[in-house]
Amino acid sequence: MNNPVLKREVRANMRSPKLILSIIGFNLVLALTGFIFLAFFEEAEPLERLFLELFFREDAARSMTASELAYNSIRLLYCLLILLEFVLLFFIIPTLTGSMIAGEREQQTLDLMLTSQLSPKTIVFGKLLAMMKTILMILISTLPILSLVYVFGSFSLFDMFASFGVMLVLSFFIGSIGLLFSAWIKRSVPATLCTYIVLLGMCILPLVIARLMPDLVGPGGSRPASFFHTLALLLNPLMSIVCLLKMRFGAETSFVSYLENTTNMAAETPIVRHWLIMSLLLQLVVAYLLVLLATKYLRPQYRRREMNSALKERMTVDPEAEKKKESQ
């Protein structure tokens, strides 16, 4: 992709110690969690059963034999690692994106880009793709640790790629929110803080509302939940991860029953049955719209339009004429 902003960002990121420190830190947290789990958690059987109940079908863990419990513990470990990966991304991405445009403003380099041939769209997408490249590198670096659970079996490659894909989509969505605030708010720190506040609100508020005010979102099973509440839940990245874990590693119907219990949503609706796909698609669409909105904050005066053909011709300069001009 010939995006100068992307190329420059990647070059600068590769040179910065921040990337390598992020990769080391990220893997260290995952590895330590795995180590602590394998070393200590398996010994604490009641605790293990409790976690299994939370993650898998609620009543299944109680009746498990000791060997079944040990087998399922590894599945639980994988779930924990995926969840942890999400939490780490949740905190890393806003710090990456918060300074992406606001930082350029603070460095006063944004003006230079805006007075070049770069369109705001190229700038914003270049930034977003650079962030995605960083996240991709971090996620790929974690694959060896995540694949350690293969030693114990019970996972397919599809599981790993599914979680990898979901993480990428969620990163794109979270990144687009961060980028919008970075373009809208002129300073990096407030932009990052606003992204955290909005993300936390998105993750927690719909669930809290469903718990505290069940009437507001529709009574359980009798009629579909309100449109806005369903939309808020579909856009909730935490719900997407929970859905992935429950559907891939728990019983097929467990997420549906979880949604029913948590949010009073009707189980038979197509949205609930295809929750993960619907939620990821919606997040991709919203992310794209947010990025387009971010570009609007970069052009205060002139509307950018495509170059007319005469000017495109001017750009393809004849090398001979060029030399002549230089020698003047």
């Binding site: 007075t115 070049s116 509307r303």
Partner: protein, 315 residues
């Protein structure tokens, strides 16, 4: 019929408000092709705002801007082919090499491959940074950073180069180098619009001058015109050994005299700057018996003259 040349930049009745503050009021000026237009004015007079509006970084509330004959609001993307902009801050990526920095902006200007490499080496040569391509931008001195910014702005061979206070924060030696560079660019046919606080330096390379005050262009004209005006308006300093009050009475009656101030036996006279006027004033004083000790033109420099015109403190 002779063809009338279109100015490279034409700003007409541009207004800009920030809240209740009128930053620009009916700002009107133009820059002719090949000219070096210097913009001076006290802090807050609207110079930087005007330049930011010209390059499209701020939105004007009303008015029109035309660059190379194109209405900037009608052809927003196209105008960036014709302008190079150097803001008052460096705006550098310090973790990039000089070559990488230039390559990024060459690509941002739509240049690639051979063309980009040629333009980069030419621009660096022009500002005297050849051979520094492998250095990190962070390691360059302030003046080198300034020159790098100009090289960046020159990548697309702009018809109009806009420099916002380029002499800020650089030492005398480098200021001279910058002056020579601007002269060279101008000699190559680049039209330059420059805002600066260094009025004396501006006289050395500007062909035109615009004096800004309170968000308007108070006066615009050729540098020659302003220099002449400055020489013309230098006051006369007359020292007498007595009869100062009588001397004021005599001077008040004379037509070429516009104003007189007295400090002990020292008279400061604003009068026409002609030999005839000077002869008349001196002979009338002598005829009335005023004991004139010395009679000379005050040595007011150009900077003081411009400061007097802007009615404030520049710099």
């Amino acid at each position: 019929m002779a063809e009338v040349m279109e100015p490279v930049l034409k700003v007409e009745k541009v207004n800009k408000r920030f809240g209740s503050f009128n930053a620009l009021t009916d700002l009107t000026f133009s820059v002719e092709a090949g000219h070096v237009f210097g913009m001076v004015g006290e802090n807050g007079s609207g110079k930087s705002t005007a330049l930011r509006i010209v390059v499209g970084l701020e939105r004007a509330d009303s008015g029109s801007i035309s660059i190379c004959g194109m209405d900037a609001s009608e052809h927003p993307a196209e105008i960036y082919h014709y302008i190079g902009y150097v803001p008052d801050s460096f705006g550098l990526y310090e973790n990039l090499l000089v070559q990488e920095y230039m390559t990024f902006f060459a690509e941002a200007s739509g240049l690639e491959g051979y063309l980009a490499r040629r333009r980069i080496s030419h621009a660096l040569e022009m500002v005297g940074l050849s051979g520094r391509e492998g250095l990190y931008v962070d390691y360059l001195s302030s003046s080198m950073k300034q020159r790098l910014c100009i090289a960046r702005a020159m990548l697309n061979y702009p018809r109009l180069l806009i420099l916002d206070d380029p002499m800020k924060g650089i030492d005398l030696k480098n200021r001279f180098e910058l002056r020579d560079m601007i002269r060279e660019l101008s000699a190559q046919g680049t039209t330059i619009l420059i805002s600066s606080h260094m009025i004396t330096e501006l006289t050395e390379f500007c062909t035109d001058l615009g004096i800004m005050a309170g968000g308007t262009m108070k006066e615009q004209g050729s540098m020659e015109h302003f220099l002449k005006q400055s020489r013309m308006n230098r006051p006369l300093k007359i020292r007498v050994s007595g009869m100062a009050d009588q001397a004021v009475g005599v001077l008040d009656r004379l037509e070429p005299v516009h104003a007189v101030t007295v400090d002990n036996n020292q008279l400061r006279v604003i009068a026409d700057n002609t030999t005839e006027a000077e002869t008349m004033i001196l002979s009338e004083l002598v005829r009335e018996g005023v004991p004139v000790v010395s009679f000379l033109r005050e040595d007011e420099n150009f900077e003081a003259f411009i400061k007097r015109k802007t009615g404030g403190d520049i710099g």
